[in-house]
């Protein structure tokens, strides 16, 4: 995927998140891209690091900044105290149309993530993507992974961590599981 197609894909993701009821703030988009890239294997190039709000990519943050500068995305102010939502700008819509062919390849994955994430707030997404991060980057049985989550997020109970792990596994596209197991072994 080249950089223009990637921009179009991000615009399309924001559009689909909004259509599915998501707030679609920057944090929601960060989490959705993490799942697309790491669990659905949509070929993007963002490096994610563990962060207080779950996996986070500074590169993606910069890319969203570029999309805003180019007006592919726009910020929609919300009433106080809430942070703004992202929406697709007129130019973003042009990108989506222009790159419709290459976007079709990833349509199902985008729909899957947008539906899963549409109704969920950042607190849930943070836990879910942290669980996915742990699956991808830690070795061990489920109980070890659940412990790893509670170490990263002390406010999360062991039961909540366990549930998040179960759900995170369902985000992984069949066929991608082997690759994830291999990356955790490394």
């Amino acid at each position: 995927m080249n950089t223009l197609q990637e921009k179009a894909l991000l615009a399309n993701l924001v559009r689909k998140l909004r259509e599915n009821g998501s707030w679609a703030g920057q944090t929601h988009v960060q989490k959705a891209v993490y799942v697309l890239q790491e669990a659905r294997h949509v070929p993007m190039r963002f490096a994610f690091v563990p962060h207080i709000y779950g996996p986070f990519s500074f590169e993606l943050q910069e890319e969203i900044g570029e999309l805003l500068a180019d007006e592919l995305l726009v910020l929609e102010p919300q009433s106080a105290p809430f942070r703004p939502k992202l929406a697709v700008g007129e130019l973003g819509q042009c990108y989506i149309t222009h790159f419709a062919h290459s976007l079709r390849k990833h349509e199902k994955d985008l729909d899957f993530v947008a539906k899963k994430f549409g109704k969920r707030g950042v607190v849930e997404l943070e836990l879910l993507t942290t669980a996915l991060y742990v699956i991808k980057n830690r070795k061990g049985q489920d109980q070890d992974l659940a412990r790893a989550i509670t170490e990263m997020k002390p406010h999360v109970t062991r039961e909540e961590a366990q549930c998040a792990l179960e759900e995170a596994k369902t985000l992984i596209r069949p066929g991608a599981k082997k690759r994830i197991a291999a990356s955790a072994k490394k």
Partner: protein
Amino acid sequence: MAKLEHEIRDPIHVFVRITNEERKVLNSKPIQRLRHITQLALTYLVYPGATHKRFEHSVGVMHLASSVFDVITKPSAVKPDVKELLPQLGDKGLLPYWRRVLRFAALCHDVGHLPFSHAAEKELLPQGESHETITKKIITGGQMQKIWSNIEPPIKAEDIAKIAIGPAKNPGVDYSRWEVLLSEIITGDAFGVDRIDYLLRDSHHVGVPYGTFDHYRLIDNLRILKEPPSDSDDTSNGGDIALGMEEGAMHTAEALLLARYFMFSQLYYHRIRLIYDVHLGDFLKEWLPAGRFGANPDDLMASTDNEVGAALWRAAFGKRRRGHAHARRIVEHDHFKILYQPTPEDRKACPEAGEVVYKALCREFGEEYFKHARKRMLGGAHDFPVLTKLDGEVSSSIAKSEVLQKIPSISVDCVYSDPVVSAKAQEWLKEHRNEVLSQEEEGAA
């Protein structure tokens, strides 16, 4: 009796006071080298006053960094929920250490800059290197280690490097919440003192008034705040913290961000300044051995604007010298001229219209006649926490300020041409513009 403190006269901050320890760092080779690196590269060819150097900017950033630190760590300015998340704020023994680290980090934050600062940095350094990676090497390298190890009480070079660079440019290094906050004081998008100083200083030297704002009031009203909620289900009450401000001083933040907008649109992304950057980058690629600078700090220490400037001057007048054609353009002010900038309609028809037109012109006339510059002002999403006056709750700045909602973004896309083909190219483009813009194949760029 020997002085414990020294004063530096500064056109922006009047007096900057430094300790004996800081003077040792100030006198080190990496910092002294910044006396020979212009802050704004070749901008002085457009704005003759823009000859100030990174040295005085670094001193100014150090001064502002501790001003911010003193305001935001003042016990009366810290909310209990923040203190809970940042125990360092209650540790009176530790705060002076971090204040020193912050000032050293601010002083050193630019030491890795190439000659002529940012110009074409990506193409002129080995892959994976940037001025930040070199800054880190210099701060933690042997020469500076000698200074750090002689400082009492001891100070860790790694702490200074972390705060100077920030987590975004320091992959693979873990940052605590406290370290993220300290690095935000220097590098932050909204209130980073790097930005505050360069806007004020560049504006002063260049002679444009757009970069000024009431930075005294701004700094005095900065606060460490929890992030506002990210959505209506966000019950975490903002688990993260950031630099924010009291609502009563919002107009100073608006003025800062408007100043930034004007400085980028009028100065940093001035179309002629951008083409000089391109010519300079082309000169360096021909003049440097292997077309790049090395990333070894010792080699970089021997390289300043002086050596590059002298070589540029010689090359401009010696037809057989490497980089002659590009050097001559700069020295004789015979730069390429703007040929094309996409209209909003062009961009709708063709997402990267500038790139596509540039390539089409190169195919038609030859690539030596055209240059392309693409720039965007990033970090323009002015979303920071605001402590509201009425209820003491934290809100998003964008929800509170109509001005911030309306500050435009900046995206520059320019194709330049050699004046010898400008007329022909213009004519050709007039005839083929629609065809060129509609012919772009998906994924071509």
